[in-house]
């Protein structure tokens, strides 16, 4: 498995190449910002009809990560659906996929700003979740400790040789860990943007996702 192993709040965690977080001690897989149903929502609002395969693609990748890790608990860290209507409108095939993935394991939906209410799918619906020393919530809070969050879709840029390489990235410092967006139709916010730069501590690291994840000092 292509991954970067790192330590956070005295726990050993794996940043997977796909952008998922794996916590081996608790057999827990965490993904953030799936934005399921995004293409449908854009079309519904009179926008362009984008290729309608994003939910399917996101779930296929999630299924692969679950199969690879054998996760017993899955946390979807908010903005799992592009809006509450999308949680109703996603196709029957996608719903069936989710039900299949949920079978035999614990499943936690954390609320996000895009999907702030309960949704008509199995699993626990929580605004935040604590396990061991870690707190899982959608948006990072000031002063929080040992917090795992998403929301910002962080990405980081690295100059190597003559080229500039940008990848979705995990950001981590002494007190918080921010996950990259996992959904197929998601963009990113540079780690150097004020919202992230101001949030992360001086010794923050970025873990670039991709075929071979790499850990670097967080680009400011």
């Amino acid at each position: 498995m292509n991954k970067v192993t790192f330590s956070f709040a005295d726990q050993t965690l794996f940043a997977l190449a796909s952008g998922a977080l794996w916590w081996p001690d608790k057999c827990l897989l965490c993904v953030s910002d799936l934005h399921l149903g995004k293409s449908e929502r854009l079309a519904r609002r009179g926008g362009p009809t984008l290729p309608p395969y994003d939910s399917q693609d996101t779930l296929t990748r999630l299924a692969a990560d679950i199969a690879r890790t054998g996760a017993e608990t899955v946390i979807c860290l908010g903005d799992s659906f592009d809006d509450l209507d999308a949680s109703v409108a996603i196709g029957a095939a996608e719903k069936q996929n989710i039900i299949t993935l949920q079978a035999g394991r614990r499943w936690i939906w954390i609320e996000g700003n895009h999907d702030p209410g309960p949704i008509d799918l199995g699993g626990a619906h929580l605004s935040e979740y604590m396990l061991g020393p870690l707190t899982f919530r959608h948006i990072a809070q000031h002063g929080a400790r040992a917090e795992v969050s998403g929301h910002f879709h962080p990405k980081a840029r690295l100059r190597a040789g003559n080229r500039s390489i940008t990848r979705p990235a995990f950001l981590v410092d002494d007190t918080r860990l921010i996950l990259p967006a996992y959904g197929t139709y998601t963009g990113g916010l540079h780690s150097s943007a004020p919202a992230l730069n101001g949030l992360m501590g001086e010794r923050a690291l970025a873990i670039l996702t991709g075929p071979q994840p790499q850990i670097i000092p967080m680009p400011r």
């Binding site: 009809t49 693609d57 196709g91 500039s164 139709y185 010794r203 790499q214």
Partner: protein
């Protein structure tokens, strides 16, 4: 046939002018459904186009729109308005002449729709936009004539395809509409005529007297041109001397970056402080307008410019054109030279300046071609379907339509004359539902079919979005450049986003002839400060690098076959002789490949003469094949005439590498994940309306809500590879940046006549390739390795250790 009204002939006489034969011809043919005039600049082309309009309005004054004039440039529309006003007033015609472009005020635009002028001067985009309004039929009632200026330039681009679709719509509204095209010298007038006329109407071609042949020469310099590079800095002293000897000189460059460097060097050597300006498409509009105004006033002795000055604005007294760098294309050279000396019947004067040793050969070949009137051009193929999709949406914005009627209308446009009903239906389906294999949008279709069979927008508000995203010009992602700490920040121009991303504070680059220092990025604006003390990095602009045309490449190969080269300067002739002595010179019907060691690595030089884009594609395909067969290629570089590949092992049998089927298979696989394809996809998806450039809010960038179009491409490739847009992308890339057609042509031409020559060192002809910029490392493992190395270095430098 009616004579020209006396008021007009009197005006000509009063001016001391006579009516040119081609102006009379155009007048005599004024009732034809379509006419194409080919005339040199300064040949009274505009008057030839407008004479019938003026005559008709003089004979039968009337209200409403009579003639629409379309040009590719906003500035040209304004120019023509001024130039037409004088004659109309002097002849005593109380007519309204107005322009309508992106610069026209909203109030003016609104009024024009209610109460149109007699003559409307506009651009293809503004005209297409007008046809998208529900009140278009009223505004266009009674339009008699449409004049398309610079049609040779429009016919080469999607803007022209868009215009012809708009004309088809206009023709449905005004069945009596007559079309006139005004063109510079072209290689295939009949093709332009077919492009212009309503299919299958005939279109008469009128050729004006082309005037005397231009006086074109090579610039003779003291110093020899260098072995490689495109800067031509060696020619600066001689070029300055020429500027001094002439009134106004236009100095054309092939790329914006080269224009910047040349201007910078020219300025450093300009001891007499001659007024010299720079003009190219990446400069801020205000800057460009200032240079244009100074030019018209005659305040400038020279302008360093690019294709942005190619089109026919009258810049006054230009008496010399200098082309820096090989022209790549004879037709463009001839058209550029036509920019000098607008007095009819006086020869234009032009000088060619090769930027390097190989370009000496290319310039001489181009010179011989221009003298022989042997122009080049590639047939463009049928009209692209992404533009068709946009026009289906534009038609829907104007109101409900019948598919049969729209198909009939669109196939009357020259570029779409051979469009099949199946192709049209696929485009219509794409516009309506997205056209995916997975039918996901039944509830949210963009276009819906009513019970009476007509198609209409599901959400009428979509019309506004369609209008906002109309057009085919691709602004590549560019960022504005401004001076920092200057209140408001003086705008200097634009650079590509990818270039901006490669900058770190302290880096310097050239823009508008100044060296600036990168300070930072703020709200998607590149902030810089003035800095004159360091050698600049060079701004990379999006201006396409043209590939040398097939005809010009053939001429060069024919020249190589000569026993000696009296027409070449001795240094270049000696270089070719040395190549013949040491290796061979490339031959048109054979493929020359040299293999030699250099600096501890094995090299392979393939002289395909297929043009820069095709040679680049060839490099990618060959290195891929070499990797598969364990030849460990490390990288390659391509020019218009050759591809140089380096690696660990020598190639001993090149034949298997050049199997057409294997190359074609490689192309399919390679294309799939290629950046060129993604770029092409983005352009076509934007034109076809899948990606919206403007959503009414601020521009998309740096926001986490938006995502890259590359993701859409990857998704389609994975789940719906035969989708319409993927088909369009493949077609576009094949004839554009991938240019695989020329590789196929070359393979067909050489058959199995491949000559591999083993040398013990680099050959004279291959040597310049080592100095070329733009070397490409073999991808794949390379990027991951770079990333790993750099990550480790950074962590170590920061004193952080990865666990």
């Amino acid at each position: 046939m009616t004579p020209i009204p006396a008021r007009i002939t009197d005006w000509f006489t009063a001016k001391g002018w006579s009516i040119h034969p081609h102006q009379q011809d155009m007048f005599d043919r004024a009732q034809d459904p379509a006419t194409l005039l080919i005339a040199p600049t300064g040949g009274g082309k505009t008057m030839a186009g407008f004479l019938p309009t003026l005559a008709e309005l003089a004979d039968r004054p009337r209200d409403g729109l009579h003639t629409i004039y379309v040009s590719p440039l906003k500035a040209l529309a304004a120019d023509i308005r001024r130039n037409l006003r004088g004659p109309a007033d002097e002849i005593g015609l109380p007519i309204r002449i107005e322009d309508r472009t992106g610069d026209t005020s909203a109030t003016q635009k609104k009024r024009q729709r209610v109460d149109p002028p007699h003559i409307l001067l506009t651009t293809p985009e503004s005209l297409a936009l007008l046809t998208s309004y529900e009140d278009a039929p009223r505004m266009f009632t009674g339009v008699q004539r449409i004049i398309v200026d610079e049609i040779h330039a429009l016919a080469e681009s999607k803007r022209g395809d868009q215009l012809m679709l708009a004309l088809a719509r206009l023709q449905s509204l005004c069945p009596d509409l007559r079309r006139v095209g005004l063109s510079a010298t072209v290689e295939d007038p009949a093709a332009i005529a077919r492009f212009l006329a309503r299919h299958p109407d005939p279109c008469q071609i009128i050729q004006a007297d082309p005037g005397p042949d231009p006086d074109i020469r090579m610039l003779e310099t003291q110093e020899m041109p260098p072995w490689s590079g495109g800067g031509a800095a060696y020619s600066i002293p001689t070029v300055l001397k020429q500027i001094k000897q002439h009134k106004t000189t236009l100095i054309f460059h092939n790329t914006r970056a080269q224009a910047e460097i040349f201007f910078h060097n020219l300025w450093l050597a300009n001891d007499d402080a001659l007024p010299i300006g720079i003009h190219h498409g990446s400069l801020d509009r205000q800057q460009r307008e200032r240079v244009e105004a100074a030019m018209v006033r005659g305040d400038l002795r020279a302008i360093v410019c690019t294709g942005s000055l190619d089109l026919g604005i009258d810049w006054g007294d230009v008496d010399l054109v200098i082309q820096i760098g090989a022209p790549k294309n004879v037709k463009r050279l001839v058209q550029r030279i036509g920019r000098a000396n607008h007095r009819y019947n006086a020869p234009s004067k032009a000088l060619l300046v090769p930027a390097n040793r190989f370009e000496v050969v290319e310039c001489v070949a181009a010179l011989e071609a221009a003298k022989a009137h042997d122009l080049d051009g590639e047939p463009r193929g049928p009209g692209p379907r992404d533009v068709l999709c946009q026009h289906i949406l534009i038609a829907a914005a104007a109101g409900p339509f019948q598919a049969d009627a729209l198909f009939a209308e669109m196939t009357a446009a020259g570029p779409y004359a051979r469009l099949t009903r199946a192709e049209f239906d696929a485009c219509l389906t794409f516009c309506a539902t997205g056209g995916y294999a997975l039918r996901a949008y039944d509830r949210w279709q963009r276009l819906q079919q009513r019970p009476d069979g007509q198609w209409q927008l599901r959400d009428p508000r979509a019309a506004q979005r369609i209008r906002m995203n109309l057009g085919t010009i691709q602004d590549t992602d560019t960022l504005k450049v401004r001076l920092k700490r200057n209140r408001g920040g003086k705008p200097l121009g634009e650079v590509e986003e990818a270039f901006a991303a490669s900058l770190t504070p302290g880096d310097t680059f050239l823009i508008g002839g100044q060296i600036v220092r990168y300070e930072g990025l703020r709200e998607m604006v590149v902030e810089v400060s003035r800095r004159a003390d360091r050698k600049p990095k060079i701004a990379t602009f999006s201006g396409t690098k043209f590939a040398t045309s097939t005809q010009l490449s053939d001429r060069i190969l024919r020249m190589f076959a000569q026993p000696d080269w009296p027409q070449l300067p001795s240094h270049t002739a000696e270089w070719l002789a040395l190549q013949r002595d040491m290796s061979r010179l490339p031959h048109r019907d054979r493929l020359l490949i040299e293999s030699f060691p250099n600096d501890g690595r094995e090299h392979l030089c393939v002289y395909g003469f297929a043009g820069r884009n095709a040679q680049q594609t060839l490099g990618l395909l060959l290195t891929k094949r070499m990797e598969e067969t364990g030849l460990a290629p490390l990288g390659f570089v391509a020019t218009d005439y050759a591809t140089l590949i380096w690696g660990l092992d020598a190639v001993t049998d090149p034949r298997p590498l050049f199997q057409p089927d294997a190359l074609r298979d490689g192309l399919e696989i390679w294309l799939a994940g290629n950046a060129v394809m993604k770029r092409t996809f983005r352009a076509s998806a934007t034109i076809a309306g899948l990606i919206e450039r403007n959503t009414g809010g601020q521009r998309k960038s740096g926001r986490q809500a938006t995502f890259s179009s590359d993701i859409l491409y990857d998704t389609l490739l994975k789940y719906d590879p035969e989708h319409l847009l993927m088909q369009i992308t493949r077609e576009e890339a094949m004839r554009g940046l991938v240019d695989f057609g020329r590789i196929e042509d070359m393979l067909a031409r050489i058959g199995d006549r491949i000559d591999l020559i083993r040398l013990d060192r680099v050959s004279p002809l291959a040597a310049p390739l080592f100095l070329e910029v733009g070397k490409i490392p073999v991808k794949g493992a390379a990027e991951e390795r770079l990333l790993a190395e750099e990550s480790e270095r950074l962590l170590r430098a920061a004193g952080l250790a990865a666990s």
